[in-house]
């Protein structure tokens, strides 16, 4: 697990260096005498503010005080190819004092844990035949086999791909997330709902 807090504060060159390990799951360090390859399997989690002051998009109206070009500059630290490699974007709105104090009625973590464990078991059981233990490790050519898309899901994928001009990599990533959503729900095939939800999680709005 690699967690980068305030990811937009990192120099762009450092972030771009993550592209190879993210894609190939290994790091090649080239020196004069030799090139050494290290394994680098990790899940990248990054946190960022929407703008330098952190108030952009807040419900309370125009709380953000950043000039437009500062926002653009800030957000462009994370390049398009890097964004393309991020599967899920979750917005975390500020909680009002009332919501904080009222106590939450959310699902307890222990329940979620049970679901996650079941999904993982399902993944490794299915993957045992092809030597893949997690959905994230599925290669492009294995994906279609494993996902067993129903016709509705297939339609959704092609429609979204056309509408938002998705790269092949992006489509594969959506399928991996969709497979995981179906696993969490205990479904054998990846349905239209799972694919659509995967798109929503990607934050792929044009």
């Amino acid at each position: 697990m690699l967690f980068l807090d305030e990811v937009c504060e990192f120099p762009r060159s450092h972030l771009e260096a993550l592209r190879q390990p993210l894609e190939e799951r290994r790091v090649a360090v080239a020196r004069v005498r030799a090139t050494v390859v290290f394994p680098a399997e990790f899940v990248l989690i990054a946190a960022a503010n929407p703008c330098p002051c952190g108030h952009l998009g807040e419900r309370s109206g125009s709380a953000c005080r950043c000039p437009e070009d500062a926002i653009t500059r800030y957000q462009s630290r994370l390049s398009g190819p890097m964004r393309d490699r991020i599967d899920m974007v979750v917005e975390v709105p500020r909680l009002g004092g009332e919501a904080l104090l009222s106590g939450s009625s959310e699902e307890p973590t222990a329940l979620v844990r049970g679901r996650v464990a079941a999904a993982q078991a399902r993944q490794s059981e299915r993957g045992a035949a092809i030597g893949v233990t997690a959905n994230a490790l599925l290669r492009g050519d294995q994906l279609l086999d494993v996902c067993q898309l129903d016709p509705g899901a297939r339609d959704a994928l092609t429609a979204a791909g056309e509408r938002w001009h998705l790269s092949a990599r992006a489509c594969h990533r959506v399928l991996r997330v969709g497979r995981t959503i179906a696993d969490l729900a205990g479904e054998e095939r990846v349905g239209r709902g799972a694919v659509i939800e995967a798109f929503q999680l990607r934050g792929q709005a044009p």
């Binding site: 998009g57 419900r59 000039p67 653009t72 709105p93 016709p151 509408r163 659509i196 709005a205």
Partner: protein
Amino acid sequence: MSRRCLVPGGAGWPAPVDDLAALHPSLRVVSLWVEGEQSELPELPGVAVVGARRASVAGLEVARRIAGDLARRGVTVVSGFAEGIDAAAHRGCLAAGGRTVAVLGSGLAVPYPRAHQGLRTELSLRGALMTAYAAWASPLRWHFPHRNRIIAALSLAVVVVEARAESGALSTARWAADLGREVLAVPGSILGRSNDGSNRLLRDGARPYLDVADLADLLPPSDAGPPPGCEDRRGRSEPPQSSGGAAPGQGGVAAHLLEVIGAEPIPRELVARALGLGARDLAVLVGEMELGGSVRTLPGGLVQRVHGPGGTR
């Protein structure tokens, strides 16, 4: 790029500016610098669309729509090239194939605001930038009230979108009133302070702007009709998801969702509560409708209805 200096009575001088001198001799504008590739200025007077620099998503959408409607009537859109509403008005006009004039509070050689250099290029190709200041004049604080009265003078009417009580757009409206131009304001929410100024204008007797028909008596009859090539109805009528895989009975919920959310972006959790849906079901529903093009999601967890020209579908 071509820059030129206009003088009163000379070729290309926009005569409506002289109304300022009629108001008081000290207000006379003695020269205007113009940047634009076309040899003639867009037709003036036009209609000014002005408002807050820090505008809400909805406000920007409103400004874009008003400017687009004006452009389709063949009316020049005048604004102040500032961030927010002003820029949205210029963009909306250009996108509808219209012509627009930006009046600056700085010299033509000063790249201000910096974020707008792309817009500037487009504007100088298909409209004009205009200023009373010499090439290298900085955008100083007291330039803007002066700029505002030029905007008012160049317009038949001033439409104010989303202005706070202290907004410079109100000074444009005041100048417009002094010059005998019509002042209109788009009514806004009374929650928060972002519409205080424009709503107060309404209370003080400004005309409410609800659609372009509110300007009809001021504009020349639209004999020209919409200019050809303006992309209104996009040709691709999208069939509403006819695939067999869609969840059954979704049509009803989808219609309900469209009723719940309006053109104003609203938070997802409110939608979920209104429809009695869990976060997952809502994500699937919204995703489905986003794919169909009837809804869009915005930063901050907001959803908004997408209005095709003339309503939905």
